[in-house]
Amino acid sequence: MVNKRDASGSPAANGGAKWNAPTGRRTDEWSQALVLVGESQDRGAFTRFFRHFAPLIKAFALSGSSLSAAHADELVQEVMLKVWQKAGGFNPEKAAASTWVYTIARNCRTDMFRRLQKFDTQLAADDFELESEEEESFVVLHTRRGAERVRELMGELPPDQAQILAKVYMEGKSHSEAAAELDLPLGTVKSRVRLAIQKLQGLMEA
């Protein structure tokens, strides 16, 4: 039903405006800043990027209050240094700047948790990233639009689904950890996540 409504015109209703929506333009500004950093080591662009994203990285570090303020600051530094080092590999056609920073922050936080737990592993979260390869251009377009759509559509999720998605993504909690914290059966958590993802993916693919 959702798909039907969507296919029948919801995107078309704000069709042309979609690309100029505030979120879209803001994302483009940050993508451009990243490209400048990657291509010409532009410190001004990096500073602008820092002022916007560092407070978000800090919020991410403190989500679920799993890290101390000092560790959160350390994480901000690590992530922003990685942004500087990896900006050359950023492809604005393939990923949104916020998704790109999110994956770096996620990996750095995972490594920091493991360090703090004296977890003895030779693997860093970055090792799990695949070498970026050339994807078909229709795939790229699809991915790029998907990122914009998902942003628009998150607000349409029912609160119980949105709450669990936020817990899984921002706090890095497994389904069973989320179930324990929210005092819900594991099956309930799994089905809420699954419904939310289906809804977002269904809408993205529509």
Binding site: R51, P55, K58, L62, V76, S98, T99, F128, Y169
Partner: protein, 217 residues
């Protein structure tokens, strides 16, 4: 082509950084064989990005910016380079854990047609091991009482529920029993990630169970 994929649950936890390191490594290895799941993960990461940009920004002092700016010219950390002996065409991560060729690993012979080599991921709760089954060979009927992820790296095998080839990803949970048999023609090598030990169910193999206690780490 890859026919069997991780369920969306796992891909979501993977994209959210919520899977334990051993399971994460297994999913990541599957992604290197499977474009479809790579695309799914890209989209699932977009959901992370959308949450991320909506977080309530927390104040960050200018001193932190100064410190980062001062470190921009620091030499970059060395990156791991893939080994030369890459004729096995393994996913990079496994290539690194195996650090050489299958033949260089320590293989523990469990039955006539099954050998196991344990790899070290540092994950305190999961065993991460390669299973090598001789062509046409069989792993005796077994169960786990936990979660088992399997990824076919070489050759293929069949069990009660289907046939699996390179890149296929299979999950079993709980006390499901199965009896994998390697396909004819070549040996089969699989990666298996377990959170509970393998247990042979038939009387004539049960005496081997103490040898199979979970080797996490």
């Amino acid at each position: 082509m890859v026919q069997h994929h991780p369920p969306t649950d796992f891909l979501t936890e993977y994209a959210a950084g919520a899977l334990p390191v051993a399971e994460s490594a297994c999913v990541s290895a599957h992604l290197s064989y499977c474009q479809r799941c790579r695309q799914s993960v890209d989209r699932l990461e977009d959901i992370g990005g959308a949450h991320f940009e909506r977080l309530d920004p927390q104040p960050v002092g200018d001193s932190l910016l100064e410190r980062v700016l001062a470190r921009l010219d620091d030499p970059q950390p060395l990156r791991y380079a893939p080994s030369e002996a890459s004729d096995t065409r393994l996913p990079g991560l496994l290539d690194r854990l195996i650090n050489g060729d299958y033949a260089d690993l320590v293989w523990k012979r469990v039955t006539q047609s099954l050998s196991i080599s344990y790899l070290k991921t540092g994950d305190p709760n999961h065993e991460f091991a390669l299973y090598r089954i001789a062509e046409g060979g069989r792993i005796p009927e077994h169960t786990h009482g936990g979660r088992e992820m399997t990824l076919v790296l070489h050759g293929g095998f069949a069990d009660e529920s289907g046939e699996y080839h390179q890149g296929d990803f299979i999950v079993r949970e709980g006390w499901d029993k199965h009896t994998p048999v390697a396909l004819e023609g070549e040996e089969c090598i699989c990666l298996a990630v377990l959170d509970a030990p393998l247990q042979f169910t038939r009387l004539r193999h049960r005496w081997l169970n103490p040898l199979l206690k979970l080797r996490a780490g």
